[in-house]
Symmetry: C2
Subunit: 148 residues, 2 copies
DNA sequence: CGGACATCTTGACTCATTCCAGAAAAGGAC
DNA sequence: GTCCTTTTCTGGAATGAGTCAAGATGTCCG
C-alpha cells in the first residue's frame, strides 16, 4: 500500500486542525482498509498511547465529512472505514467471515446512477455491495466437505 | 400490490407453523413496506392486541429466512422489512428524511452481478442502494442539506 | 506570546437487538 | 378427540455500538 501520504498536509488542505489523535486515526485507516472503529481505536492507541474512544468516533466523523475517509456499513456489520476516496469503487462482502474487498465499478463512471425509475429522487450516489463467499470460505466448505 | 395474499397458505407452503403473531407481522409487513421493527410491533399489536417485542423479532427472523420477507438495512438506519421478495429490485434512500422507495433493477436480470474483478469471491447477490434526496426534501431545501 | 475556539477526556447513557429459561400452544400421530 | 413432541411466546436482563454533555487541553492565528 502507499507508503505514507502527507496526512498532515491532507488535513490542513481539508480545513481540519492537525492533532495527534487525528494523525493516528488517519494513518490507521490508511494502513488497515475496512477496519472497524474498535480496531482503529486499538491501532491508534498502539501508535500514540492513550486516545479516548470518543475522540476516535469524533475524528472518524470529521474525516468522513471532510472526505478524507469513507464510511461503509454492510448490513449486519459495524461501521468500517477506508481511505480510498474519490475513485468510484464498490465492495464484495463475504457472508461467512465478513471480509471485505474492493471492486472497481464495472461501468467505471458513476455507474448505476441510472436507476430505471428514480421516483423523482435526486440521486447522487449509487452504492453497490456484492454478497458472496470469499475464496477461503468457499474452499473451506463448498457444501459440507471438511478437508483438513 | 396484491390486496391480501393468503398469508396462512404462504406460511404453510414455507414450512412454517401458523400463529396469530406471525399472521399479524406478515400482514403488517405487506401493508407497510420498509417499516422498521418497532413500527411493525406497533402495527401487529394494533391488530391482535398483545405481542411481545421478542416474538416480533423472532417472527421477522423466521419469515426472513423462509424467504417470505426481505430485510434491508441502509447505512445509518435500523433494520427494515419488506414483502417484495423474489423479484430483483433495489432501493433509493433519502439522505434527509430516510424514506425508502423501490427501484426495479436497470439491468433487469441479476444485474451488476458482473463485478469487474471478483477477487475469487463466489458472488450470489448484488445489492444496490441509490442515495439522494426525495422530491419533498429536495423541494424543501434545494441546495443546503439540513437534516437536523 | 496570548487569547479564542476547536478538539479531546471522562463517564454516563440510549437504543436496537439478542440471550435466557420457563410457560404455552400448534401440529401430528393414534 | 386426545396425548405427545416440537416450536414458539413471554418477560426480564444483558450486550454492544454509538451518542451526549461538560469541563480540560491543545491548536491556530494575530
Amino acid at each position: 500500500m502507499s507508503p505514507a501520504p502527507d496526512f498532515e498536509h491532507l488535513m490542513r488542505a481539508a480545513g481540519l486542525r492537525v492533532t495527534r489523535p487525528r494523525l493516528a486515526v488517519l494513518a490507521a485507516v490508511h494502513a488497515h482498509p475496512h477496519a472497524d472503529t474498535d480496531s482503529i481505536l486499538g491501532i491508534a492507541r498502539a501508535r500514540i498511547g492513550e486516545v479516548s474512544h470518543q475522540a476516535v468516533y469524533d475524528v472518524l466523523r470529521a474525516l468522513t465529512s471532510a472526505g478524507l475517509v469513507r464510511r461503509i456499513e454492510p448490513a449486519g456489520s459495524v461501521a468500517r472505514y477506508e481511505a480510498r476516496v474519490g475513485d468510484n469503487h464498490h465492495h464484495v462482502v463475504c457472508r461467512s467471515c465478513g471480509v471485505i474487498a474492493d471492486v472497481d465499478c464495472a461501468v467505471a463512471y458513476t455507474p448505476c446512477l441510472t436507476a430505471s425509475d428514480d421516483h423523482g429522487f435526486e440521486i447522487d450516489e449509487a452504492e453497490v455491495v456484492y454478497w458472496g463467499r470469499c475464496p477461503d470460505c468457499a474452499g473451506a466448505s463448498p457444501s459440507a466437505a471438511v478437508s483438513n
